[in-house]
C-alpha cells in the first residue's frame, strides 16, 4: 500500500502551492489576474481528456489542485469549471463534449455544477457561464447555456454564487450516467474542504505558539492543545478519506459511490468544525474581518452544504451499507 503521491503529483502540488501562496490572500487580491495565470498553466483542463484540449490527468491530480485552491481560498472559478467539465465528460454526448469541453479546458468559458430541484447555492455559477445540472435520484442531467442562473450574494464574497432557476426539462439533456459524475464532484469538493482545514490548522498552530497570555504561549495550555489535536484528527481523517475516494475513481471505480459519500461526509464535518475551532483558538482577533480566518470559515460553510452535507452523505452511506458488506480483506 502506497499513500504517497507520485513525483508528477507532488510537482503539481508544489507548483500550485508556490503560485497560490504568492498570489492569494486579502479581500482585494486580483482574482481575474490569477485566473489568467491558471488558464495559461492549463489547470481548468487538468482532468479533461487531451482530445478535448485538456491534460487528461485523473481525479487524484484534480483533488490535489482543489486542495491547494482551498488552502489559498483562491478567488478563481476553478471548482465550478472543473466540476461542470468532468460531468460533461462522463455524461455528455459527443457533440456536447466537442462543443463545450475545449472552452472549459482553456478557461475562456467558466462553468458550474448544480443539483436540480433544490434551491441551492451554487459556487461559481454566473448568468454568462455554462451551468450543468444533475438529479442523481432520477439518473438525469442537463446543461444550460445561459439564462438559467440567477446571481446570489453568498456569505463568501470571494467567489461568485448563483442559483439554478430552470428545471432539468428546460435544458439540453445529458445522455450519460450522471451518478459517476456526482461521486467525482463530491470528491473534488471534499478536497477543497481538506485544503481549507489544513490552512485553518496551520494558521492556528502558528498563532497559539506566538500569542502569549499569563506570561506563556497560549499553545502551552492543554485546553488549547487538545482542541488543536482534534483539528488535526478531523483534518487527517478527511484527507485520507478524500484521497482514498479519488484513488477509487481512477483505479477502483466499483468502490467509488461509498468512498465518495464517506469523503464528503468526513470533509463537510471537518470543514465546519476545524474552521470554527480556528476562530475560537485565535480568540478575539479570530472574530475580526482583518484576520483571514473568516474567509476559510465562510467557504467551508458553503462547501460543506454544497451537493449535500454530512447528514445527507451519511443517509446515502446508510443505504449503501444496509444490504451488502465489504468483502473481508479487500483492497482499501
Amino acid at each position: 500500500m502506497d499513500f504517497d503521491f507520485t513525483d508528477e503529483q507532488q510537482a503539481i502540488r508544489d507548483t500550485a502551492r508556490a503560485l497560490l501562496a504568492s498570489r492569494a490572500g486579502g479581500e482585494r487580491a486580483d482574482g481575474a489576474e490569477l485566473w489568467r495565470e491558471l488558464c495559461e498553466l492549463g489547470w481548468p483542463g487538468i482532468a479533461i481528456p487531451e482530445r478535448h484540449g485538456g491534460q487528461g490527468l485523473g481525479l487524484v491530480e484534480l483533488a490535489i489542485l482543489a486542495e491547494q485552491l482551498g488552502s489559498a481560498c483562491a478567488q478563481v472559478p476553478l471548482l465550478g469549471t472543473t466540476l461542470a467539465a468532468l460531468t460533461l465528460d462522463l455524461a455528455g454526448s459527443d457533440e456536447q463534449c466537442e462543443r463545450w469541453l475545449p472552452p472549459l479546458a482553456s478557461g475562456e468559458l467558466t462553468g458550474a455544477l448544480a443539483f436540480a430541484g433544490a434551491a441551492q447555492l451554487v459556487p461559481d455559477a454566473t448568468p454568462d457561464g455554462l451551468a450543468v445540472a444533475l438529479d442523481p435520484a432520477i439518473f438525469a442531467g442537463a446543461l444550460f447555456e445561459h439564462g438559467a442562473i440567477e446571481r446570489v450574494e453568498a456569505i463568501d464574497p470571494r467567489r461568485a454564487h448563483g442559483r439554478l432557476l430552470a428545471g432539468l426539462r428546460d435544458g439540453d439533456p445529458l445522455p450519460g450516467d450522471v451518478t459517476a459524475a456526482r461521486d467525482r464532484a463530491l470528491v473534488v469538493v471534499a478536497a477543497e474542504l481538506v485544503g481549507l482545514c489544513r490552512r485553518a490548522l496551520d494558521l492556528t498552530v502558528s498563532y497559539v505558539k506566538e500569542r502569549r497570555q499569563f506570561g506563556v504561549p497560549v499553545g502551552s495550555f492543554q485546553a488549547v492543545q487538545h482542541a488543536a489535536a482534534q483539528m488535526l484528527r478531523d483534518t487527517e481523517a478527511a484527507a485520507v478519506a478524500t484521497y482514498h475516494a479519488a484513488w477509487c475513481a481512477d483505479a477502483a471505480p466499483e468502490g467509488l459511490p461509498l468512498a465518495a459519500a464517506m469523503a464528503k461526509a468526513a470533509a463537510s464535518d471537518a470543514g465546519r468544525s476545524v474552521t470554527s475551532a480556528a476562530i475560537q483558538l485565535h480568540g478575539g482577533i479570530g472574530f475580526t474581518w482583518e484576520a483571514d480566518l473568516h474567509w476559510l470559515f465562510k467557504r467551508a460553510q458553503v462547501d460543506a452544504a454544497y451537493l449535500g452535507g454530512g447528514g445527507a452523505q451519511r443517509a446515502r452511506v446508510a443505504g449503501l451499507i444496509a444490504p451488502r458488506r465489504q468483502p473481508a480483506g479487500a483492497a482499501a
Binding site: M1, D2, F3, D4, F5, T6, Q9, V60, V205, V208, K209, V216, P217, G219, S220, F221, Q222, V224, Q225, H226, A228, A229, Q230, L232, R233, E236, A237, V240, A241, Y243, H244, W247, A251, A252, M262, A265, A266, G311, R314, A315, V317, A318, I321, A322, R325, A328, G329, A331, A332
Partner: protein, 379 residues
C-alpha cells in the same frame, strides 16, 4: 498512490487464510477465565506448529520474517477468523522485540524460543498505583545483593500475571533518582516467594488484570536488559511496539461488532429510523477512516522508518468509536444490552477501559499537540 496489496502480500494473506480455514481455535469458553486462557494457549501452540506464532519475528529467531504489512495482514485475518490473540501476546508483541533490540546473545538464546511456543508466558510490570500516565514516576526499588537484585514495590494492571513465568519489570535502581533517570529493565521470575499476584476485579466483573506485590523478590544480574540505569530507553522500545500490530486486530474487531449491530438494526427495524441510520452510518465512516489511517500510518513507517501523525490518532479514534458503538447498541438492541451476562452488556462495560488502557485519550492528545503539531510543552 496505489492502495492495493502487492502480489507477495496477497499470497501471504491467501496462504494464511487457507491455513486458518483448516485450523480453527475451537469454541470460545465463556465464564471461566482459566479455561479461556488455556484455550488461547492451545491456540498459540497450534499457530506455532504451523509456523505462524511469530510472523513479524526474524527467521533467525524462529519467526517468519514478515514485513510490517504482512504482520498487519496477519492480525486482520486473525480478527476475520474470529480467532483470539495468542496467549503470549505480550511476549510476542512486546517482550521478544524488546529483547531483540536490547538483549545480549545469551538472553536471546535463553528467552526467545519459549515465548514463541507459549511454554513461558510473559507479563508487563510497568504501571504502578502512582505511576499511570506519568509512567516515569516509578517507585518500585531494586537493590543489589551479591549477584542478585532484590525488588520491593507494587505494580498494577498486570494482565496474564497469574499465568506468567517472566515479567518485564522496570524498577528504580538508583536511590533518590527521579523521573526517567536511574531506572533499570529486568526480567523477573514470577515463580518465587516474594511475588504475589492478586486479581483486580474490573467493572465487567472479570479480572483481566492483576496487582503485583513484590516483597524481596530476587532477580539474578544476568536478567538485566540493556544495562543498569538504561531502563527508560528499553521501556520505550517496549511501548513503541505496543500498538503497531494490535491496531489491526482491534480495527477488525470493531468492524465485526459494527456488522453485528447493523444486522440487529436491520432485523428489528431501527435502521429505518433516520437518527439511528445516521449514527450507524457515522460509525461506518469512522471505522473505515480508522482502517485507512492505520494502513496509511503503516505505509509511512515502512517507507520512511518513522510514524506519521496517524499513529497517535488511530488509538484515540478507535477508543472513541468503540465507545460510541456500544452506546448506540444500547439504543438499537434495547434492554438486552443492559441485562447481565449478554455480550452487548459486556461490551458496554468493557469499552469504558478503551480510552484509558495503553495511553489515556488525554495523554494521546498531549502527544499529538506536542510531538506532531510542535506546540510548547503543556503546563
Amino acid at each position: 498512490m496505489d492502495l492495493t496489496f502487492t502480489e507477495r502480500e496477497q499470497a501471504f494473506r491467501d496462504e494464511l487464510r487457507a491455513w486458518l480455514a483448516g485450523h480453527e481455535p475451537g469454541p470460545e469458553p465463556r465464564g471461566d477465565e482459566d479455561a479461556h486462557y488455556a484455550w488461547r494457549r492451545d491456540w498459540q501452540r497450534e499457530l506455532h506448529e504451523g509456523g505462524w506464532a511469530g510472523v513479524h519475528w526474524p527467521v533467525e529467531y524462529g519467526g517468519r520474517g514478515a514485513t510490517l504489512t504482512e504482520s498487519a495482514i496477519f492480525f486482520e485475518e486473525l480478527g476475520h477468523a474470529r480467532a483470539p490473540l495468542p496467549a503470549n501476546a505480550l511476549g510476542l508483541l512486546l517482550g521478544g522485540p524488546t529483547l531483540m533490540v536490547w538483549g545480549d546473545e545469551e538472553q536471546k538464546e535463553r528467552f526467545l524460543a519459549p515465548i514463541l511456543s507459549a511454554e513461558e508466558i510473559w507479563c508487563q510490570g510497568f504501571s504502578e498505583p502512582d505511576a499511570g500516565s506519568d509512567l516515569a514516576a516509578i517507585k518500585t526499588r531494586a537493590v543489589p545483593d551479591g549477584d542478585d537484585w532484590v525488588v520491593t514495590g507494587q505494580k498494577v494492571w498486570t494482565s496474564t500475571a497469574q499465568y506468567a513465568k517472566w515479567c518485564m519489570l522496570v524498577a528504580r535502581t538508583e536511590p533518590g533518582s527521579v523521573k526517567h533517570k536511574g531506572l533499570t529493565y529486568f526480567l523477573l521470575d514470577m515463580e518465587q516467594d516474594g511475588v504475589e499476584v492478586v486479581p483486580l476485579k474490573q467493572i465487567t466483573g472479570e479480572s483481566e488484570f492483576n496487582e503485583l506485590f513484590l516483597d524481596g523478590a530476587r532477580i539474578p544480574a544476568e536478567n538485566v536488559i540493556g544495562g543498569v540505569g538504561n531502563g527508560w530507553k528499553v521501556a520505550l522500545t517496549t511501548l513503541m511496539n505496543e500498538r503497531a500490530g494490535l491496531a489491526f486486530f482491534l480495527q477488525v474487531r470493531l468492524r465485526q461488532q459494527l456488522d453485528r449491530l447493523i444486522e440487529a438494526a436491520a432485523a428489528n427495524g431501527t435502521l429505518e429510523d433516520a437518527r439511528t441510520a445516521d449514527r450507524l452510518a457515522d460509525l461506518h465512516v469512522r471505522t473505515e477512516l480508522l482502517r485507512l489511517m492505520a494502513w496509511k500510518g503503516l505505509s509511512t513507517i515502512e517507507r520512511y522508518g518513522q510514524p506519521g501523525p496517524e499513529g497517535s490518532l488511530t488509538k484515540w479514534l478507535w477508543s472513541e468509536t468503540n465507545q460510541l458503538l456500544v452506546q448506540t447498541a444500547v439504543d438499537v438492541v434495547g434492554d438486552e444490552a443492559l441485562e447481565a451476562g449478554t455480550s452487548w452488556s459486556f461490551e458496554l462495560l468493557r469499552a469504558r477501559g478503551n480510552s484509558i488502557e495503553g495511553g489515556t485519550t488525554e495523554i494521546l492528545k498531549n502527544i499529538v499537540a506536542e510531538r506532531v503539531l510542535g506546540l510548547p510543552r503543556a503546563r
